[in-house]
Amino acid sequence: MEIWRLPISASQRGKLISAGYTSLSSLSSISSSDLARELKVSESEAMNILKVASHSRGSETSNASCSIVEGAQSAWDMLHDEESLMHITTSSADLDNILGGGIHCKEVTEIGGVPGIGKTQLGIQVAVNVQIPNDFGGLGGKAIYIDTEGSFMVERAFQIAEACIEDMSEYNRFLRKDFQECKIKMLPQDILENIFYFRICSYTEQIALINYLDKFLSEHKDVKVIVVDSVTFHFRQDFDDMALRTRVLSGMALKLMNLAKRFSLAVVLLNQVTTKHTEASFQLALALGDSWSHTCTNRIVLYWNGNERYAYIDKSPSLRSASAAYSVTARGIRNSSSSCKRIKMM
């Protein structure tokens, strides 16, 4: 790695290069006092530069398989991680099926669709379902709901929470087979208490919040899902410089991916649609541009097919392209009730 890639200030870099230090190996054998004299900087600054250089060069690790490349993990080790991956159910078995069990933790999933298709509904459902206790196959975690448009309705969240608890009681009764009325001790209010709600009014606040989440999550380690509804709204206006928008968005996506991996949680980003002119016709496409479409790990498009709502896996590193029908009911997201539902493999 060359000097110009080191995370040091421009003037320090300039001094290093003009003093003749262009590669990391040239810094490996010099002491900090010599360097300070050569560069005409203070000794503490020189120590800092050497520390950064040695850190980038790679230090000894305890894991033998990583001694070849710093920070790498072998694919065999990763297989174990992938198999123990947790999912968050969407309450629709068909949808869970094509998703490979549900919304994946440790990954960023983007969900987009036309207005009224059910994005916010799915967001609220996921924020409720993440709280399903371990005994019922859930994560027993808390949720962060970042609302940029004001579409979060508490009454709806209450309805969905109530229905979720009723379903769990039903399941419990079925499992025990003794037909007794065994109520779950959870109340819808408890579920609502575990949803941390943030209201964002500008893109600056959105960026600031995502920066701050690192600290927040260290203090609230049981958060298992972050829902951003919608990630698009504040970025569709206010930006005259599109290149800056792309840079800011990709920075944000990277931070979210980082959070997902470090804290083992799922990140769900809800996106809007726009029209795109391709091949002499106008088509619908998710907003924020082509560069953004690369940044998310998984991409699900919600659309109308006839009279049914369908979800289509547009992009995923491990799931097959497929679509499944779902419906939005008074109880939340559920399987579609039509008899001709079938999972279409594309």
Binding site: S11, S151, L192, C201, N211, L244, R247, N307, M346
Partner: protein
């Protein structure tokens, strides 16, 4: 919060000086740049940039609330938990109390269907005292097309609430609470909006009606994408106005005919020919809501008013809480009223379709009672 000055944030002196030397004065300036761009600009190392950004972010980020405390707050402080009853029982039941506070509710429909009538009724209701189901406050009515008729307003008042409106002083008091603005251009509208935001809370304004949003924009010369951009600032502003003042905002929208530019399929839909069911609605209605898809995303509740086989319907096309229901309605001398409180559930994207059939008879029938 976005315009918070860096000088007001407790940062270490050295980096605060560098920020101001490089003209990065607000939090927005600092957060709009990536970490590496800031490093280049300020000539400091990564760790310092990171810690400065973290401190700025912590101050600028909004505080959180649990959904439970949000609900409790709303039910304690706000009228009916944050809903404004419209007086149309079926609609109010579907919307969980009425028109929600703090977000945009859109009324879209063809000309003459009853959007302005609905707005007049709502304005009247909002001015009434709370024991009559009102919000007991002022209403700001932005009347772009000069459709506001105070005579009609008082007629509605007289027929619906005779006990109040028969007394001249009461009628004057109620009508006096409705403030009508008539901006002649988008620029004037923008100015009035900014003034409104400042005086909202002091002047006890409890509702904002904009009739109609589409007329404001259609007067401008730009087309297509440029028009979208012009509008996006206004969308953002009106939403933030609604949000921070927690009042219901009702906006009316026009319709336009669907043209070949209107996309309705994704690229993966076009490819698969087998099994894809043709949407029947495409051939049925040739009308779509004006103002585009960005606007459609921005409104929280969309109520479509249409005329089908001689009957008028009000449909809940987009709502976070209501299923897609259609209620038949008609216009009488006492305003708008539902013919049935049981809505008919509409399946699929049909709920978004706007029909305009058998309309001519309706205009003649309805107008008799009005003059």
């Amino acid at each position: 919060m976005a315009n918070k000055l860096i000088s007001e944030i407790p940062l270490p002196k050295s980096i605060a000086n560098v920020f101001s030397a490089r003209n990065v004065s607000t939090a927005k300036d600092a957060l709009s740049l990536t970490e590496f761009e800031l490093m280049e600009l300020l000539d400091v190392g990564l760790t310092e940039v990171r810690s400065a950004l973290l401190q700025i972010s912590e101050i600028v980020a909004p505080p959180y609330q649990t959904a439970l405390s949000l609900m409790e707050q709303r039910f304690q402080n706000e009228h009916l938990g944050g809903h404004f009853p419209t007086g149309l029982k079926g609609l109010d039941a579907a919307l969980c109390g009425g028109i929600p506070f703090g977000v945009l509710t859109e009324l879209v429909g063809p000309a003459g269907i009853g959007k302005t009538q609905f707005c007049l009724k709502l304005s009247l209701l909002a001015s009434l005292p709370t024991n009559y189901g009102g919000l007991d406050g002022r209403v700001i009515y932005i009347d772009v097309e000069s459709k506001f008729s105070s005579r009609r307003l008082l007629e509605i008042g007289l027929r619906s609430f005779p006990e109040i409106f028969q007394m001249k002083e009461m009628a004057q008091e109620m009508a006096g609470r409705i403030l009508v603005l008539r901006p002649t251009s988008l620029a004037e509208f923008t100015q009035s909006l900014e003034q409104i935001k400042v005086s909202l809370l002091q002047n006890q304004v409890k509702m904002l009606v904009i009739d109609s949003m589409a007329a404001l924009v259609s007067g401008e010369h730009e087309q297509g994408a440029r028009r979208q951009q012009t509008l996006s600032w206004h969308i953002s502003f009106i939403k933030s106005l609604a949000e921070f003042s927690r009042i219901p905002v009702v906006v009316t929208n026009q319709v336009r005919s669907r043209n070949h530019d209107d996309a309705s399929r994704y690229c993966f839909q076009v490819q698969s020919r087998d099994g894809a069911i043709e949407t029947p609605m495409q051939y049925d209605s040739h009308l779509v809501a004006a103002l585009g898809i960005q606007w459609a995303h921005a409104v929280t509740t969309r109520l479509v008013l249409e005329a089908k086989s001689g009957e008028r319907f009000i449909k809940v096309a987009k709502s976070p809480i209501s299923p897609p229901l259609a209620f038949p309605f008609h216009i009488t001398s006492s305003g708008i009223s539902l013919l049935s409180d049981d809505g008919k559930e509409v399946m699929g994207p049909e709920i978004n379709a706007i029909h305009y059939q058998g309309h001519n008879e309706i205009i003649n029938f309805g107008m008799e009672g009005l003059h």
